[in-house]
C-alpha cells in the first residue's frame, strides 16, 4: 500500500448555467479549474479560501457527490470516477463527509441512535448481535451519553448535533473524512470542544481528514498541510509551516494579514486587497488574482503562472517567483 490515501489529479468541475430555454449562450461556472493534491495516510489537510472559491465543490467531487468534468481522483488505489454503482457503494463507507450546518443535516424524524446506525446496518459494519453496543461505544467516543440514543435531534444544542454528525461519520470506520466547515456554525467555546474531539478521534481511529474551512486560525491549529484556493485553483500549497510562517503567494499574504488578532496592542501592516473576488463564470485572463494583486506585473494579465515546487512540496503558482522573471 502506498502512503498516499488520496491523489487528486487535475480535477475540473464546471457547472453549466443556461439562459432559459434557448440552447445558445450556454456558459459555465468554473468552480474547480484544475486542482491537484495528495494526502498521506493519517494526515490532516486544510483547504482554505474565500466563499465561492470552490473549496466545497472540491470536497464533494472527491466523494463523487458531483461528477467531475475532468480529472482523476485515486482513493486507496481505486479511481473513484471509474467505479460502477456497486463498486462505488462498497467504497462509500471508507469516505465520509461532515457537513457545515448541524441544524439542517440531521433528519428531525429519526432518533439519534438510528441516525448513527442506519448506515452501519446497511453496510453490515458489525454483526447484528453487537450492533447496539457498537453504537453506544461510538456515541461515548464522540462525547454523547448512552441515554441520548432514543432522543430526537431537536432536543440537542448545536455543538451536540455536530457530535452526532461526527458519530455518524465515524461509525462506518472510514479511512477518509471530508469535513466541510464543521465548526463555522458554532460558538467559540463549543468550537474548541469540537476541534479537540476531531483531533482525538483522528488519533484513536487513525483517520485522514480533508478539512475545509475559511477560518485560517482553525486551519492552522488542526492541519499538517494546507492548500490555499482562489477562484477554482490552488494558488499555494505546503506544510503548515510553509504557509503560515513562510508564505510566498501575494494572496496568501493578504489573507493572513486580514485575520484579526485578538490582542489590542498588536499592530500589523495590513495588506488591504481592493475589490471583490471576480465572477467564476468569467474569470480574468492570465493569473486569476491579477485584478486584486498588490504586486501585479504585465505578464500576470496575459499568461497564467505555472504551479511549481519551490522545495519540500511547497507549491506556488505566481509569476513573482518564476525563473523567467529573474532572468529579465
Amino acid at each position: 500500500m502506498s502512503s498516499e490515501i488520496l491523489q487528486v489529479k487535475n480535477l475540473v468541475k464546471y457547472f453549466p448555467i443556461g439562459t432559459g430555454m434557448s440552447k445558445k449562450n450556454k456558459s459555465v461556472v468554473k468552480s474547480v479549474d484544475g486542482v491537484s493534491f495528495s494526502i498521506n495516510r493519517g494526515e490532516i489537510m486544510g483547504l482554505v479560501g474565500e466563499s465561492g472559491c470552490g473549496k466545497t465543490t472540491v470536497g464533494r467531487t472527491i466523494l463523487r457527490l458531483h461528477d467531475a468534468t475532468d480529472g482523476e481522483v485515486i482513493f486507496d488505489g481505486k479511481d473513484i470516477f471509474k467505479l460502477n454503482k456497486s463498486q462505488l457503494r462498497k467504497t462509500r463507507p471508507d469516505m465520509q463527509l461532515i457537513f457545515q450546518d448541524p441544524y439542517s443535516s440531521l433528519s428531525p424524524r429519526i432518533p439519534v441512535g438510528d441516525i448513527i446506525g442506519e448506515a452501519v446496518l446497511e453496510h453490515k459494519i458489525v454483526p447484528k448481535s453487537e450492533y447496539k453496543d457498537y453504537i453506544i461505544k461510538i456515541m461515548k467516543d464522540c462525547g454523547l451519553q448512552e441515554y441520548h440514543i432514543s432522543r430526537y435531534p431537536h432536543e440537542f444544542s448545536g455543538g451536540q448535533r455536530q457530535r452526532i454528525c461526527i458519530a455518524r461519520a465515524i461509525a462506518l470506520k472510514p479511512k477518509l473524512i471530508v469535513a466541510d466547515e464543521p465548526v463555522s456554525a458554532l460558538d467559540v467555546s463549543i468550537q474548541a470542544q469540537i476541534i479537540n474531539l476531531l483531533k482525538d478521534l483522528q488519533k484513536e481511529y487513525s483517520l485522514t481528514y480533508l478539512f475545509i474551512s475559511h477560518d485560517l486560525s482553525v486551519v492552522e491549529h488542526i492541519s499538517d498541510k494546507v492548500g490555499v484556493m482562489y477562484l477554482g485553483n490552488i494558488v499555494e500549497m505546503g506544510s503548515k509551516y510553509d504557509i503560515f510562517k513562510n508564505c510566498m503567494h501575494p494572496y496568501t499574504k493578504a489573507l493572513l494579514s486580514s485575520v484579526p488578532i485578538p490582542d489590542p496592542s498588536y499592530k500589523c501592516d495590513r495588506i488591504l486587497l481592493k475589490g471583490d473576488i471576480p465572477s467564476a463564470s468569467n474569470p480574468p485572463l492570465g493569473c486569476k488574482f491579477n485584478t486584486r494583486c498588490p504586486s501585479v506585473m504585465d505578464i500576470c494579465k496575459k499568461v497564467s503562472p505555472e504551479y511549481k515546487d519551490y522545495g519540500n512540496g511547497h507549491m506556488v503558482s505566481c509569476h513573482l517567483y518564476t525563473n523567467s522573471k529573474y532572468e529579465k
Binding site: 474565500e50 444544542s157 479537540n196 486560525s217 492552522e220 486580514s258 484579526p260 489590542p264 471583490d276
Partner: protein
C-alpha cells in the same frame, strides 16, 4: 403530555397574559407626561447610559430573561464592544435600545437607557412615546445590520433606499439636495462608481458592497451613535478587513460613538476601546480592551480568550470550556457560569455575585474577586 405538565403550561400562559397586558397598556397610553421620561445623566461625557436594563420574553415554556440587569456606558467618540456567545442577549440589548423588541411576548420590564437628544433633552429611551423614538431612530442613533444580503429591499434601487432616510428626517431638503447627499455618502464609504450604484439594485452588488451601502445608510443623518450588529460576520476575511478599516476611518471623521456587537474576539481587539462581556443575559466582566485582553479576570472571559486558536501561536490542544450555555428558562439564583466553571467554590452556590470594581472601571462579577468572600475560600 401528562396532566400536570398541561396544567403547568396553562398556568404559565395565564401569568404571561397578565404581565404582557400590563406592559402593553403602559406602552399604548397617549399623551405621556414628559416628567415620566425626562431624566439626568450620570456623566455628561457619555452618549448613552444603560442602567439595570431588563428585557424579558414571555414564552409558552416560561419567562426568558434575555437581558437581565445590564448596566454600562458609551462615552462620546469611543467604540464599545458587546461580546458573548449566541443567545447571551447582546442583540436584544441593542434592540431594546432601538425600541425594536418584538411585542407582545418581548417586553422591557425595567431599567433605564439615558440619552441626550440633539435638542438637549435627556430622556429615558425605554419610556418615551413611540412618536418621539421615531425621530431619534435612524437619525441620531442608526444601525448596521448583520446580514447585508437580506437587509436591503430587493425591489428598490440603492439610491431610493438611502434617500428615504434622508427625506424622512430632513423635511426641508429639496429632491436635488437629497440626491447629491446620497451620492456623496456612497463616495464616502468608498464606492467608486457612485452615480452608477445609485441606480442599481441590491442583487447587482456583492456582499462587501452591500455592507458599504448599509454603512452609507447609517451615516445618512450624521448620527451620534452607530450600532453595528455583527457587521462583518457574513463577510470573507479580506472583505472584513476592508469594512473594518472603513468603519475606523469614518468614526474619526464624523466623531460618532459605535456600539459594536460581535462574537469575534479578533474584531473586538482591533476596533474597541471598551469591552463588555455578556453571559446568559448578564454582564460578567467589563473594562478597557487592554484590561480584558491582557488581564482577564472572570473565568468565562479567560476561557473564551483561550479557546480561540490564534494564527502563528502554536498550541497542542485547545482549551475548551466544558458544558454549554444553560437553559434560559428558570435560571438558578447562583452564578450562571458555576456549572461550567473550573474555579467554582462554596460561595458560588450562594447569591449571584455583584459587579465588583477592581479599579479604573474594570468590573468583574465573580466571587473569586470579592474581598469578603476571599477569606472563606
Amino acid at each position: 403530555m401528562s396532566k400536570e405538565s398541561r396544567e403547568k403550561l396553562k398556568q404559565i400562559s395565564k401569568e404571561n397574559k397578565k404581565a404582557v397586558n400590563h406592559y402593553e397598556k403602559i406602552k399604548k397610553r397617549k399623551n405621556i407626561d414628559p416628567s415620566e421620561y425626562i431624566v439626568s445623566m450620570k456623566d455628561t461625557n457619555n452618549v448613552i447610559e444603560f442602567d439595570n436594563l431588563k428585557t424579558y420574553f414571555y414564552t409558552d415554556i416560561g419567562i426568558v430573561k434575555a437581558v437581565n440587569g445590564v448596566s454600562f456606558d458609551i462615552p462620546k467618540g469611543k467604540t464599545v464592544a458587546l461580546v458573548g456567545e449566541s443567545g447571551c442577549g447582546k442583540s436584544v440589548t441593542n434592540l431594546t435600545l432601538m425600541r425594536l423588541v418584538q411585542g407582545p411576548s418581548g417586553q422591557i420590564v425595567g431599567g433605564e437607557i439615558r440619552y441626550k437628544t440633539e435638542s438637549g433633552e435627556i430622556v429615558d429611551l425605554t419610556k418615551i412615546p413611540m412618536s418621539y423614538m421615531e425621530k431619534i431612530r435612524g437619525n441620531e442613533i442608526s444601525m448596521i445590520f448583520q446580514e447585508p444580503m437580506t437587509s436591503l429591499n430587493p425591489v428598490f434601487t440603492i439610491g431610493q433606499q438611502i434617500s428615504e432616510t434622508i427625506e424622512l428626517h430632513n423635511k426641508d431638503m429639496s429632491k436635488n439636495q437629497i440626491k447629491d447627499r446620497t451620492v456623496e455618502l456612497l463616495t464616502i464609504v468608498g464606492i467608486s462608481r457612485a452615480d452608477e450604484i445609485y441606480k442599481s439594485y441590491p442583487h447587482q452588488l456583492s456582499g462587501g458592497m452591500r455592507q458599504r451601502v448599509m454603512i452609507a445608510m447609517s451615516l445618512s443623518c450624521n448620527p451620534k451613535l452607530i450600532i453595528a450588529d455583527e457587521p462583518t460576520t457574513a463577510l470573507d476575511v479580506t472583505i472584513q478587513a476592508q469594512i473594518l478599516d472603513l468603519m475606523r476611518d469614518l468614526k474619526n471623521q464624523i466623531n460618532a460613538s459605535i456600539l459594536l456587537i460581535t462574537h469575534d474576539l479578533g474584531v473586538v481587539a482591533e476596533m474597541a476601546d471598551y469591552v463588555v462581556v455578556m453571559y446568559a443575559g448578564k454582564i460578567v466582566e467589563q473594562g478597557t480592551a487592554m484590561d480584558i485582553y491582557n488581564n482577564p479576570k472572570h473565568p468565562y472571559t479567560i476561557g473564551l480568550l483561550k479557546s480561540k486558536p490564534v494564527v502563528n501561536k502554536h498550541t497542542e490542544r485547545l482549551y475548551s470550556i466544558s458544558g454549554q450555555v444553560p437553559n434560559p428558562v428558570n435560571m438558578p439564583n447562583y452564578c450562571y457560569f458555576k456549572s461550567r466553571c473550573e474555579k467554582s467554590f462554596d460561595k458560588c452556590s450562594g447569591d449571584y455575585p455583584s459587579l465588583n470594581d477592581l479599579g479604573d472601571g474594570h468590573k468583574v462579577s465573580c466571587w473569586l474577586y470579592d474581598k469578603d468572600a476571599k477569606g472563606e475560600r
